[in-house]
């Protein structure tokens, strides 16, 4: 049965985002760098303002009304996030972002590993799902191994199977690649990884904002993502973990708010999730993220995914017609809402500068994936990434500017 989607009323949606009122040199902003961070709707901005103007107070401390309100709102945001990805109660930990979530895991999980144990990641990870593991492996004499990528930019599942053995304790991979856009088949991978009794960690920074993610269905052990990539503020992110695993793990950061009872010689830690949220957290960030998710739910995450799919199909087919363009990653059916490419003879920076003339915002660099770009034998690439407020008109403007760039450099 074909699923029915509501098509998005982008014109109305855009009105919620004050930044699109801005003109630079009298021209609209065409924002195509949503993989890096997203714009914020007024529902989020207003709540942040309201927090500071009406109920700013530290959480879990005061008995007074203000503190009660901020505590309730901050805690409620955990529940909103939990419901969004179908987690159980107390399985949502707020961090400052995907990077911190993954560092927390690398540190805390490695405490239980023995010398010679192995960690498996893929060759298309963001630096934040590579460097923490690489460094912890050096410190603890663990072995870091990489799953190969196929020529079409997919995770090589045969290679995954080959590299698993009883020493591999952790497999940590991107749900959606921030460079190639590849959506990895987690339900299949999960079975392979769990058959080997390894833990499965998903870097979901590029998936949770763009598609329905159900942690119970995926059956991953941990999952990390960032608020700022899904209409929320910067400085807030999420670590989901299965309760029984989180209960067994040691904290990453020690201090106030994560303790039950402290004596001069011992500390008993607080219960989940506070055990992992030491110190005064990013209260307003958490509350803002809750509002961002409520906004996404109102529009419908399935509708957003469908909207992006249409844009990708449109952009992919148009871009492919450009002479000497190289598009990285799988075909449009296996990818999420982003496309990375290079046009022969024109460096990404130069393309981005020419696009910037028309206020078209794209990313042109290695996208925090230097080894992956080396693998493709390029220094970097140009990346466009969509969200709910983008339109085919944005794509058309992009194409026009790309033509200009080509004209300038090919004359």
């Amino acid at each position: 049965m074909k699923q029915e989607f509501e098509s998005l009323n982008v014109e109305e949606i855009k009105k919620d985002f004050p930044i699109f009122n801005r003109k630079i040199n009298s021209k609209d902003i065409i924002y195509l760098d949503n993989g890096a961070t997203t714009q914020k709707p007024k529902q989020v901005i207003n709540e942040i303002k309201k927090y500071y103007e009406e109920y700013n107070a530290n959480i879990h401390r005061g008995i007074y009304k203000l503190s009660e309100e901020s505590t309730l709102e901050y805690e409620k945001a955990h529940d909103v996030v939990g419901r969004f990805i179908n987690a159980k109660e107390n399985e949502i930990i707020f961090t400052k972002g995907t990077t911190e979530s993954l560092n927390l895991l690398a540190y805390s999980l490695s405490l239980d590993l023995q010398e010679g144990d192995e960690i498996l990641i893929s060759k298309m990870e963001h630096h934040s799902n590579l460097v923490p593991w690489q460094q912890i492996c050096k410190q603890k004499n663990l072995k870091l191994k990489y799953i190969e990528i196929t020529e079409d930019g997919l995770l090589d599942l045969d290679d995954l199977k080959n590299k698993l053995n009883e020493k591999v304790k952790i497999v940590s991979i991107a749900h959606v690649s921030n460079v190639l856009g590849t959506i990895s088949p987690i339900e299949e991978i999960e079975k392979i990884v769990h058959d080997n009794n390894s833990l499965l960690i998903l870097d979901a920074a590029q998936s949770v904002p763009h598609m329905k993610v159900d942690v119970k269905k995926l059956n991953c052990d941990f999952l990390a993502f960032s608020g700022h990539k899904m209409l929320g503020p910067t400085g807030i992110g999420v670590l989901y973990g299965k309760k029984e695993l989180l209960n067994r793990m040691k904290p990453f950061i020690y201090g106030g708010d994560m303790v039950r009872e402290v004596t001069y010689s011992e500390t008993r830690f607080n219960e989940l999730p506070w055990k992992f949220e030491a110190g005064t957290p990013n209260i307003v960030g958490g509350i803002g993220l809750g509002k961002a998710i409520e906004y996404l739910e109102k529009i419908g995450i399935d509708n957003i995914e469908n909207h992006e799919k249409e844009l990708i199909k449109y952009a992919y087919n148009k871009l492919r017609e450009i002479k000497d363009i190289e598009i990285y990653g799988p075909n449009e059916n296996l990818r999420s809402g982003l496309i990375s490419f290079n046009i022969k003879g024109i460096h990404g920076h130069d393309i981005a500068t020419i696009l910037d003339e028309e206020n078209i915002c794209v990313r042109a660099s290695h996208h925090c994936a230097m080894p992956l770009h080396k693998m493709f034998n390029v220094l970097g690439s140009v990346r466009i990434s969509f969200y709910l407020y983008n339109t085919k008109d944005d794509v058309d403007k992009l194409l026009l500017s790309l033509e200009r760039a080509i004209k300038i450099f090919r004359k």
Partner: protein
């Protein structure tokens, strides 16, 4: 309420791709690497991953020969090419004294803060070579 924030930029975007920039980009002068050079250094711009290798031979204190091997955008490449022509005959002290404005003058364009780093990569690589910074 639609507000119009006027931002005047201090550069003309496409305007930076002038004839001379594109010419140096497409035909890099002194392209390559000197075998057994007196000084050599390889550096990269961590933001974009662009790479730059310079090698220099000296007559006493003066640059006799210079070669550049840029791998990057039009701005960093053209800057390397133009700088290589400028360096011949200069002594080390003169080179160390060269500043951002000197590069702008040589290129004949203004750049925004994100692209300045591209333009400065060749000069900073040359300076590191002269200072005796060693590649690992």
């Amino acid at each position: 309420m639609k507000q119009e924030l006027k931002v005047d930029r201090d550069y003309v975007g496409e305007g930076i791709y002038r004839e001379n920039i594109l010419d140096h980009y497409k035909n890099v002068r002194n392209l390559g690497k000197i075998e057994n050079a007196d000084l050599e250094f390889h550096d990269l711009n961590p933001i974009c991953g662009d790479e730059m290798t310079v090698s220099l031979n000296f007559d006493q204190d003066k640059v006799r020969e210079v070669k550049v091997l840029p791998k990057g955008c039009a701005i960093s490449t053209a800057s390397a090419s133009i700088l290589s022509e400028e360096l011949k005959g200069k002594n080390k002290k003169e080179i160390m004294k060269m500043k951002t404005e000197d590069i702008f003058k040589l290129l004949g364009i203004k750049l925004n803060s994100m692209r300045i780093k591209c333009a400065l990569l060749p000069l900073s690589t040359v300076k590191k070579a002269i200072c005796g910074v060693k590649n690992e």
